[in-house]
């Protein structure tokens, strides 16, 4: 048996069919285990996510899986990817645990495991230490703020009034039109006057699209449900525990079905971890619910000045600055939902 890189993805897809698996389009490398010119096992990687993993029934428990995993780990390691993740069906969890992967979180649809140097507990502890927060009870918000609007500010202010200490996590994944460092900076500036509010990066374990379970969930709805519930449970088990978070605030969601599903998952899961979920009615202005997508739409239509009513001064100043020119051009050309 030998293990080799392959470009013949059609053959791999054919092989995966036996296991009711498909191969995602985003994989950037694929390995096959071959014996007598026949594929007996495969696995792929998309950035730091290992996926499309399967070994023929006839060859299971013969070390094919461990050879495949070693090889793919080695390749990723040499590429400078030191932390890896595996999404799998819950019933396969123990197979990967036996191969050195650590269970992070799971539900009836999906289990997330991590390998290499990835270590959720250590990562979250470092996040907490870096934040300079004390161990008193806190309320939390997780926001993308693409860009920071008066709607976001209102939500944070509400939490700040009702709690002694508030921590705001800004989604770090850089898939939004406004880059992460700009989003973070605008929130920090926008809530400067709220003394009991701390704004920090959300890190790798809060809404990171790199860790999206995909290939084994058929329906889009199932996928969304599994992902949002996983994210909520990771927040409850690790982040809320380390930061001593007792409440999480979310805004009502009139437009976006994904955010709506996410809110539902939070309400379902977080109370199991002793966290209260508070839903705050969105801020209305001129009969519209103030949201970042609404602001981006104004920008898209070339009505930059109209955004003034819906964003804090600091955000507006940024929007009309030279620094924002490229972003605004991008928004005008983009059809992205975020």
């Amino acid at each position: 048996m030998e293990i080799v890189l392959t470009n013949d993805l059609e053959k791999v897809k054919e092989f995966l069919k036996e296991f009711d698996l498909s191969l995602d389009d985003d994989v950037d490398l694929t390995l096959v285990a071959v014996e007598d010119d026949k594929i007996i096992g495969t696995c792929s990687a998309a950035k730091n996510i290992i996926k499309g993993f399967a070994v023929s029934k006839d060859y299971q428990s013969e070390g094919v899986a461990s050879k495949l995993l070693t090889k793919i780990q080695n390749i990723l390691f040499d590429k400078g990817i030191y932390e890896t993740f595996i999404f799998t069906k819950p019933e396969n969890k123990s197979i990967f645990e036996g191969l050195g992967y650590r269970f992070v979180e799971g539900n009836s649809d999906v289990a997330l495991l991590e390998g290499g140097a990835a270590n959720v507990q250590k990562y979250v502890r470092d996040m907490f230490l870096k934040s300079d927060l004390d161990d008193g009870e806190k309320a939390a918000l997780v926001m993308n703020c693409n860009p920071f609007t008066l709607g976001h500010k209102y939500l944070i202010e509400t939490a700040a009034k009702e709690n002694e200490r508030v921590v705001v996590f800004i989604v770090e994944e850089n898939k939004s039109l406004f880059p992460f460092d700009v989003r973070l900076e605008l929130v920090k500036k926008g809530v400067k006057d709220l003394k009991n509010v701390t704004v920090i990066p959300g890190g790798k374990y809060i809404i990171s699209s790199a860790t999206f379970p995909s290939y084994f969930l058929r329906k889009e709805d199932d996928r969304l449900r599994a992902y949002t519930r996983l994210d909520a449970a990771i927040f409850g088990r690790y982040i809320a525990k380390e930061f001593n978070i007792k409440r999480r605030y979310v805004g009502t969601e009139p437009y976006c079905p994904v955010t709506n599903a996410y809110n539902n998952a939070l309400m379902d899961i977080l109370p199991n971890f002793g966290i209260e979920v508070k839903i705050v009615e969105r801020l209305m202005k001129d009969n519209v619910a103030v949201s970042a997508s609404f602001v981006r739409n104004l920008i898209k239509q070339g009505k930059l000045e109209d955004t003034k009513k819906f964003v804090p001064e600091s955000t507006y100043e940024f929007l009309i600055s030279k620094e924002a020119e490229d972003i605004i051009e991008k928004i005008k050309r983009s059809d992205s939902p975020h």
Binding site: G63, Y82, G116, A117
Partner: protein, 87 residues
């Protein structure tokens, strides 16, 4: 000796151990997963720590995925990974 870059040694196959070494600001640190953690976790950690000491290494994060390796295998894998991490 000073760890200057990430390096690895070993495999995830049965009776072996996969060692990854990274530069670490907080002295030596070990993160061990093993199929025999309950029975031999302490002993495996001790072998790793002793090997680091022997090589005079003080800034290593060692991530170890053990699948039942024997003591001298563990020692050899750690030594190899450390040597690769020094260059």
């Amino acid at each position: 000796m000073k760890i200057v870059k990430p390096a690895k040694a070993g495999t995830m196959e049965s009776n072996d151990i996969y060692i990854m070494v990274y530069p670490n600001e907080k002295g030596n640190e070990i993160q061990l997963d093993s199929i025999v953690l309950k029975q031999f976790g302490k002993q495996i950690e001790k072998i790793i720590i002793d090997t680091l000491k022997e090589l005079d290494v003080e800034n290593a994060l060692v991530v170890a995925k053990d699948r039942g390796a024997l003591d001298y295998t563990i020692k050899a894998r750690v030594e190899t990974a450390i040597k690769r991490a020094l260059e």
